[in-house]
């Protein structure tokens, strides 16, 4: 049964707002999109220019340097397997997208988190927005991304950043708030100014928590990159998407497993960095 009151035109309002922005600003965003796309392509092409075995060795070395021998071994075997399945190219493009999205999310998110921790009004404004960003179904972000950035990886990154940024903000804020009050007092007692306190006491002590946030951001980016395949992000998500359209469970499973392997590698390495920071 329909409600006797006329429908509140929320959808129409959102659409006209987006239309307004598209009309007046799309040339900027589209331009940005083109530039970014060139950057992404260059990164992916650069990574693909190297022979797979060399890149795999590089990743393994990185894993060994940043974390443990076990994780390095897993990286080596996992990536070799992905190569063997013939998914090397989409895997590289997925890793590139995740890294770029994470970088953007972290570069924007950490400063916002710091501001939210230090200034109460920022905190009060930011937190409900984060709740909104995290609970709104991720697919919804894909829709406005297209008019702004067009189909392709830039739209995917835009939607991914919005979806994956909240943990970076939240955990940065939390990490700073959790610095024991007596240490803050000690810093004050010795006459530290705001930025000395931030860089010498608060941020170093919050590092472990912030890294946990970065880890979550990476994981969320990865899950979103798959969803974003629907608007042409390509990569492993694109392979999954193709498998769905062609109803090929085997192909879907292979691509899905590729995502899992990439996820485990990125997760273990970043977790490790976070743990070390705490010590």
């Amino acid at each position: 049964m329909e409600m006797p009151l006329p429908k509140f035109p929320l959808g129409a309002m959102v659409e006209s707002t987006i239309d307004f922005f598209t009309e007046h600003f799309a040339f900027i965003t589209k331009g940005l999109s083109k530039i970014t796309e060139v950057g992404i392509e260059a990164l992916v092409d650069g990574m693909l220019f190297l022979p797979p075995w060399l890149l795999i060795l590089l990743f393994t070395a990185l894993a060994f340097w940043l974390s443990t021998r076990r994780i390095a071994l897993f990286t080596l075997l996992g990536l070799l397997f992905v190569w063997n399945l013939g998914l090397w190219e989409p895997t590289v493009s997925t890793i590139a997208l995740v890294l770029i999205a994470t970088l953007v999310a972290v570069v924007i998110g950490i400063p916002i988190g710091i501001m939210a921790a230090l200034f109460n009004p920022v905190h009060r404004v930011t937190m409900p927005i984060l709740d909104f960003m995290q609970t709104m179904p991720a697919f919804v972000y894909l829709i406005p991304a297209i008019p702004f950035f067009g189909l392709g990886p830039v739209s995917a990154i835009f939607a991914t950043v919005i979806f994956a940024m909240p943990p970076a903000i939240r955990m940065t804020c939390l990490g700073i708030e959790q610095v024991p009050a007596d240490l803050i007092e000690a810093a004050d007692a010795f006459g530290s100014n705001r930025s000395q306190k931030l860089f010498k006491v608060q941020l170093p002590l919050a590092k472990g928590t912030i890294m946990a946030g970065v880890n979550q951001t990476i994981m969320l980016s990865l899950s979103m990159v798959v969803i974003a395949a629907m608007i042409g992000a390509g990569g492993l998500g694109g392979e999954v998407w193709k498998a769905i359209q062609r109803l090929k469970p085997g192909m879907g499973f292979e691509a899905g497993l590729g995502v899992v392997i990439v996820a485990i590698i990125l997760d273990r390495i970043t977790q490790r960095i976070g743990r070390d920071a705490r010590g």
Binding site: P180, D182, L183, E185, A186, A187, D188, A189, F190, G191, S192, N193, Q196, K200, V201, P204, L205, K207
Partner: protein, 393 residues
């Protein structure tokens, strides 16, 4: 000599419209009514005192008495509601943020109850912190920090992290961090309260030894009277934000201002605090070597004792003569006491704690100063009376 710190009519009231609380306090409203009817919590109620340079001030009180608030008002970690705080004649309550940071950087070193060491920095980097904030060059600050770590005996631990150290060692680092700045004033907030008793006593002794070398003005907060009596040149006792008594340890012990202070000192082990000087009597009758035994016997009879002290013309103690020997000497017709003076008698200094007197077996004990001049005499009865009474009168 100008006082190092002068505090005048200091108030700290927590809550909305804190200023209005001052008027209410002046009208005579109590702490409880202020909280119940106006939602205002009184931290400090009209505190005034001063400290001379190099003095060791102990602020004592139970938890909630306002002592921690008081020490934090001095460097404005807590913003006072009203009153003046003069540090070297400058009122810190009027300083802007930048000037206040300067004062904190150069005048104050602070040591905290829970150490508050930075866990991500090594011992050396912790000790360097204040200098780093001041912008001192790296080599210079490392040198100063090492010097101050050396002062507390932790030079070899410079590269360790705080978590690797015991509580006592951590607090030494806390002390070194404060001393590295070479501040005029050390603020110590229950600095030893978190340590176990043995380490605590050791730290107290070290602090006193350190103080005699570096000669800082120290404000030390504690809830432990024994600690206060041991460390303080002056003690301030606080209750409900009010200073109820200020005085030397002996003044506090011998004339407590009210029941509250009396309650405090009830459980003090006076033998550790009171000294020979406080229980000694004036040696009213003395005799000189040239006095004959008859004179000596006469003086003993007058004061009703069986022995008498012998001093020289400058009142330097020579020894004691006993009645039996004196009367034997008198019968033999000798005219000088020299032959019968017992020279080997227990002597203590005025500052000797009573505790040490208990190990002496023969009484009376004679109190002499460094030049061996006679200051007084302690008879066993007086010592026990002082102990029983809990304090001297």
């Amino acid at each position: 000599m100008h006082p190092k710190i002068t505090v005048e009519n200091l108030y700290k009231i927590f809550g909305p419209s804190a200023k209005s609380g001052i008027a209410l306090l002046r009208q005579g409203l109590g702490k409880e009514r202020l909280l119940r009817e106006h939602g205002l919590a009184v931290g400090i109620n009209n505190a005034s005192f001063y400290i001379d340079p190099g003095q060791f001030l102990v602020v004592m009180g139970l938890s909630g008495s306002g002592k921690s608030t008081l020490i934090r008002c001095l460097n404005r970690l807590i913003e006072p509601t009203a009153g003046k705080i003069l540090i070297d004649g400058v009122d810190v309550t009027t300083l802007d943020e930048k000037a206040l940071r300067e004062v904190r950087q150069h005048k104050f070193g602070m040591v905290f109850q829970k150490f508050a060491l930075f866990p991500h920095r090594t011992v050396l980097k912790n000790a360097e912190y204040g200098l780093e904030i001041q912008g001192v060059a790296p080599e210079e600050r490392a040198r100063k920090a090492l010097e101050s770590l050396d002062l507390v005996g932790l030079k070899d631990w410079a590269d360790a992290y705080p978590e690797q150290l015991s509580g006592g060692m951590q607090q030494r680092v806390g002390l070194a961090r404060a001393l590295a700045l070479d501040p005029d004033i050390l603020l110590m907030d229950e600095a030893f309260s978190a340590l176990d008793p043995l380490i605590r006593r050791e730290m107290q002794d070290e602090l006193l030894a350190l103080q005699s070398r570096v000669n800082k003005t120290i404000v030390f907060i504690t809830h432990d009277l024994d600690e206060a009596l041991k460390l303080g040149d002056t003690i301030i006792i606080m209750k409900d934000g009010v200073i109820v008594q200020q005085g030397t340890p002996e003044e506090i012990l011998t004339s407590p201002a009210d029941d509250y202070v009396e309650k405090f000192i009830e459980n003090v082990d006076v033998s550790k605090v009171l000294t020979a000087e406080t229980v000694m009597h004036k040696a009213t009758a003395v005799t000189f070597p040239k006095d004959g035994p008859k004179t000596a016997l006469h003086k003993m009879k007058e004061i009703g004792t069986s022995s008498i002290l012998v001093v020289d013309k400058e009142r330097r103690l020579l020894g004691i003569v006993h009645a039996e020997e004196a009367s034997r000497l008198a019968k033999s017709g000798a005219t000088s006491l020299e032959a019968i003076i017992v020279r080997d008698i227990p002597r203590v200094e005025p500052g000797t704690p009573l505790q040490e007197l208990f190990s002496i077996e023969s009484f009376p004990v004679v109190v002499v100063n460094e030049e061996q001049k006679l200051k007084g005499i302690i008879v066993r009865g007086a010592l026990l009376a002082a102990m029983a009474e809990g304090r001297n009168n």
